[in-house]
Symmetry: C2
Subunit: 409 residues, 2 copies
Amino acid sequence: MAQVTTGKEIVILKDESVTLPKGFKAGGLHCGLKRKKLDLGYIASAVPATAAGVYTTNVFQAAPLVVTQESLAKENKIQAIVVNSANANACTGEQGLKDAYEMQSQFAAELGVKDHLVAVTSTGVIGELLPMDKINTGIKQLLHKDNEGVNNFLQAILTTDLMVKQIGVQMNIDGKTVSIGGAAKGSGMIHPNMATMLGFVTTDANIAYTDLSSALKDITNETFNMITVDGDTSTNDMVVVMANGLAGNGQLTKDHPDWEVFYAGLKTVCEALAKKIARDGEGATKLIEVKVAGAFSQQAARAVGKAIISSNLVKTAIYGTDANWGRIVTAIGYSGVPIDPNSIKVSIGAYPVFENGLPTPFDEAKLKQYLEQENVQIVVELNQGDVSATAWGCDLTYDYVKINASYRT
Amino acid sequence: MAQVTTGKEIVILKDESVTLPKGFKAGGLHCGLKRKKLDLGYIASAVPATAAGVYTTNVFQAAPLVVTQESLAKENKIQAIVVNSANANACTGEQGLKDAYEMQSQFAAELGVKDHLVAVTSTGVIGELLPMDKINTGIKQLLHKDNEGVNNFLQAILTTDLMVKQIGVQMNIDGKTVSIGGAAKGSGMIHPNMATMLGFVTTDANIAYTDLSSALKDITNETFNMITVDGDTSTNDMVVVMANGLAGNGQLTKDHPDWEVFYAGLKTVCEALAKKIARDGEGATKLIEVKVAGAFSQQAARAVGKAIISSNLVKTAIYGTDANWGRIVTAIGYSGVPIDPNSIKVSIGAYPVFENGLPTPFDEAKLKQYLEQENVQIVVELNQGDVSATAWGCDLTYDYVKINASYRT
């Protein structure tokens, strides 16, 4: 349970996911894209849901993202999402686009809804056409009762992920229980030809589109966009939120007295999923959190955090449980943010390691012990202003090289 | 031997270095910073040499860089460079700055020249004060005949480098033989707490300061600034060129008929050193060259080249001899350059792998064989304009992780 500043409670339910909110169901099956595991899944709402999305900035945007963006734009609503793993339908040209539309209309027919109310997402190998016979056969069985269940969905969206990634939260708005559920996949910003990070968020909140959309953008910048595994931005990255209004609260907008608690709830879901993706980074053994405080702007705080979390040298040092503060200071120095070396302070966990332009003496043994834990924190105080940011990532290990040097062959 | 467009020959002498040009000597000795190996070196010219430098953009610039920049600015001339390895004199505060000045004046006294005619450089561990007793004792013996010899110098500048890095070229200007020699160290843009990349270039050309300086800047952008090992920009990076005029040619400026041949010679030296640094990257088994053509600007061509050469996923794929074109295309897509996915062409060596927005069928076995070679080339045609750039780097291997996870502890 986490308290928020409004005094309202946000209850965190670790084993819940996208079916926690009222009126959502999900499922998945094996249609033959993977050898044995589930590879086709869906989320569906009982009624059309206000929906917003954020999409990769990679210019090689995959076909399903093009279709989903275009469809969402029609009414700012969707009623369902269909997703396959093992094939990203990226770099597949005109035929790939046709296939994504077909996937959409096939699932829309099963649900009995208009095509544009179905979002399509794909994740997996780049540059191969979808085997549409398998997809179509799978879609025909997808809504069958035997395939229903959120665990089927959570399995169906994975590629080389080691863990499923889910979270649920509940809060009280207008005297009604409002729920938000989330699921994600991703184990590298891009996988070995495996595209990518997908995030699915559902809520039964009644909420205005514009406010949902801007909240998702802002929160994505603070959560999903602050993680890195290897610095590579994939062709298929996408986060979609669906709000079906079945909680029965008065419509949420930025002016609603409970806006803050909803925003905090949505952020809790996105941050939890983002951290799970970072921790499940390819070959990772640790989750690294970089907290930057005292920046003069949000951009500056984020740039410093991202420089540190993206540094291969910092990542390998933490894998080696080495309190190598010189690499952290160096990353701050090339982050592009104007900084006075003499006014910053750097700590690893609770141990200051650099202050007033000079190294701070520290107990190497104790710090090594700290670095042996699974969660490692780096704290930077810039002393330039009062803006903060947090970034998350993972260590760089032999297994990262192994996974990525040997994946395709 | 390489032909340049002027029709003038540039003779490449692979085993020559900074003492190839007339009037330069060099040497080195062991003063006790390393356990056994040489750790203190110098280059000296018989007469003051027109000198220009380029320096790291890291805001945590090390003390010797501050001293060197300030000294060069006085007359645009230096007569000698003194360099130590094993200690970077970086993040060392006021005392570090005092030590760098002392190192300068001690060696200036030995040479009998003014302080500001001596450049100071250091490379090695960050955050430790120089043991000035050892440095001063060493400097007193540095000019002794027993310590003279360019090989001593080449050894004395190394940290964890596996190979010495040297090159010499000669060309004819105004009927005189003009020589340029180069030496470098560096095995990561920053080493495990090991700062850095240093480049030393000497020439006996008679050349105007402004033209030498701008040529060095332009060439550095095309060579040293186009290599990456791990994307980390160190606190000590520096390249210095000294031109003592002893070749006796008429003063070179941009208007001299042989300017182009001199420029090509200087570029040959810098490019050769840059490639040697990339190939000697930590844990590297291969040199990767990325050629980008058809860009609409220099900046765009370089951004695409650097995105590819910096991608951990591309680097691991090449280590694994995997023709993973999807990772190359993805890196192009997030380089920040507006690109039409349907108009680019990507080749690995002579094998096209992506064209017209779709993968090109290729012979996996042949391409794998190509990737097993020590030198691997990636060629990108953007079809947007006529500007080209080349970037160099190395593969990402188990040994990179090993070296960097276990260095300090």
